[in-house]
Amino acid sequence: MAKTKTNTEDYLRMYKQMVRIRSFEDNANQLYLSAKMPGLTHMYSGEEAVAVGICEALTDDDRITSTHRGHGHCVAKGANFREMFCELLGKEEGYCRGKGGSMHIADQSHGNLGANAIVGGSMGIATGSALRAKLQGADDVTVCFFGDGATAQGLLYEVMNMAALWNLPVIYACENNGYSEYTKTEEIAAGSITARAEAFGIEAHQVDGQDVMAVNELTQKLVARARKGEGPFFMELMTYRYHGHHVGDINREYYRSKEEELDWKENRDPIIKFRGWLVEQGIASEGEIEVMNAEIKKDAEEAVEYALAAKYPAESEVDMHVFAD
């Protein structure tokens, strides 16, 4: 594992945040399977080290833009379980008063500009947030999360060109989980993803997305440099999603093997790896870790119960918020 400059408290928070994401997703998946959740949703499980490693290098003033697979980013950027589950269930107390749902969950208060149901749809938004920072002389940095599949959208190259020309404080974080829907990355991406960024004069790095410390260390460095006007940067994070493309994608052997899934889960799980390291380094004991895990599990379950019992928005809300005053 790579070394980071964080201290014990930081390590434990990173661990907890990863477990919180996993717990959130396990509960969301259950809600779907038990038909208690409206619509579909995309699980982040397996990719926790990416969101956490990155978001732990950011402050609340830094912004992120998220994707259709956005619960992990939302938790990592500081969101609460209750408001998140309420949103997934379309309840009034949700982050978006139930109007957004899983694919549009956003958390203004922690700088999460929102998930996006248009693949690639938030690349402009992230870059525009960085432009705003530069124009207003603010020193916040914006991280743009997107998948390997999203690299096929031309918008990425348009905004990278402008970010590079104008040295914008934006970090493009490509979560390469090997698939876009039911298609392998190599079938939809010619050449090299990092070389594409480099061709626009953007410094690009490939990093192991299952290693939360490696991700965090690199992000800390890049964020610090971006704050000084040395951006933009590009990161390709090699990772894996454990579930199907969405919760309903159950039979997936036609596009990827069970062995492959098992290999990632058993040998490259970001939580197991980091937990092992924490214990090995004496930062936490197995017992302490079990206590943390249990607490998080309880929190998540309580939040689910709360959300299930919460109110739907009143019908009169239907035509509110079309226009701001």
């Binding site: 619509g39 379309g90 096929a152 031309g154 019908e315």
Partner: protein, 331 residues
């Protein structure tokens, strides 16, 4: 006659047309092995191979552009656009390029392609996966727009679309993929620009597009019990629009409601109502009324989403108002 789902009907239409005409191919995201997320195209890649059922990267403007170029030079591509909401991404290639090729070249070139996509809310898919955007393309000269209301229509209209020498956009309602209807074994086409009178009646005309045809039929059932005889018409294509049939019905019944799932304002209902008002005005006892979806982005929450679209009860209620002359006081 056998009953098959809309999804099967679309699949059959492709299989038949691809067998008939080698130049037809399908291009889009996860259309091959996956057969689309809705599994509509399952089996086609096995028969026609990955050269004719082409999986693309997630690049809607790009593969739409490829379709235009292929169409201009001798192929008949069908673009599979996974959600109708993504039409915003292909507007330039569709509206600035495909729609205008024939005209701008003085009739010397054309772009015979189909964009097959969907529409329809109430699936809890939220604001970017629930829109019904057919009014936008209908506004652009050079594009034809088909809106099947059942498996039967879906097959016949898609086959006609593939054979048409112009760019055609076909919107399927994603909530209807499992709806079954009688579909003949033998081959048939449904010509564009011929409305279908689904139910005849003398008191009021209900014009519906896509799934709103079923809403109108259900409303007609409700009304029938109250002694109101509604005529239900499905235009099947909104470009070209079978004005004649619609106007004849309006003249006969003297009352009209147009129901469509696109946003009401600046939408399809406005166009159809305007044409009827213009051409049947002196036969009407009340203004041709519009019922579109609410002018709001589609909300995620089930508690809100369902009230954004027209329902049989809502249509029946509006019909009663028109029948009772209540409009006179409103207008």
């Amino acid at each position: 006659m056998r009953n098959i789902t809309l999804s099967q009907a679309v699949n059959e239409a492709f299989a038949e047309e691809m067998r008939r005409d080698e130049t037809v191919f399908i291009i889009g995201e996860d259309v091959a092995e996956a057969g689309t997320p809705f599994k509509i195209l399952s089996g086609l890649v096995e028969e026609f191979g990955t050269e004719r059922v082409i999986d693309t990267p997630i690049a809607e403007p790009g593969f739409m552009g490829l379709a235009v170029g292929a169409a201009m030079t001798g192929s008949r591509p069908v673009v599979d656009l996974m959600f109708g909401d993504f039409i915003f991404l292909i507007m330039d290639q569709l509206c600035n390029q495909a729609a205008k090729t024939h005209y701008m070249s003085g009739g010397k070139m054309n772009a015979p392609l189909v964009v097959r996509t969907n529409m329809g809310a109430t699936r809890r898919s939220a604001a970017q996966h629930s829109q019904s955007l057919h009014a936008l393309v209908a506004h652009i000269p050079g594009l034809k727009v088909a809106m099947p209301s059942s498996a039967y229509e879906a097959k016949g209209l898609l086959k006609s679309a593939i054979r048409d020498n112009n760019p055609v956009v076909i919107f399927e309602d994603k909530l209807m993929y499992n709806d079954k209807a009688e579909v003949p074994e033998e081959e048939y086409l449904i010509p564009f620009g011929e409305a279908n009178v689904k139910r005849s009646g003398r008191d009021i005309t209900l014009i519906g597009t896509s799934s709103m045809v079923q809403v109108c039929e259900a409303a007609a059932e409700i009304l029938a019990k109250e002694g109101i005889e509604a005529e239900v018409i499905d235009p099947r294509t909104i470009v070209p629009l079978d004005e004649e049939t619609l106007i004849a019905s309006a003249k006969k019944t003297s009352r009209v409601i147009v129901v469509d799932e696109g946003h009401q304002s600046f939408g399809v209902t406005s166009e159809i109502a305007s044409r009827i008002n213009e051409k049947a005005f002196y036969h009407l006892d009340a203004p041709a009324m519009r019922m579109g979806a609410m002018d709001v982005p589609v909300p995620f929450s089930p508690a809100l989403e369902d009230i954004t679209v027209p329902t049989p009860e809502g249509v029946a209620e509006q019909a009663r108002k028109l029948m009772s002359g209540e409009m006179i006081h409103a207008a």
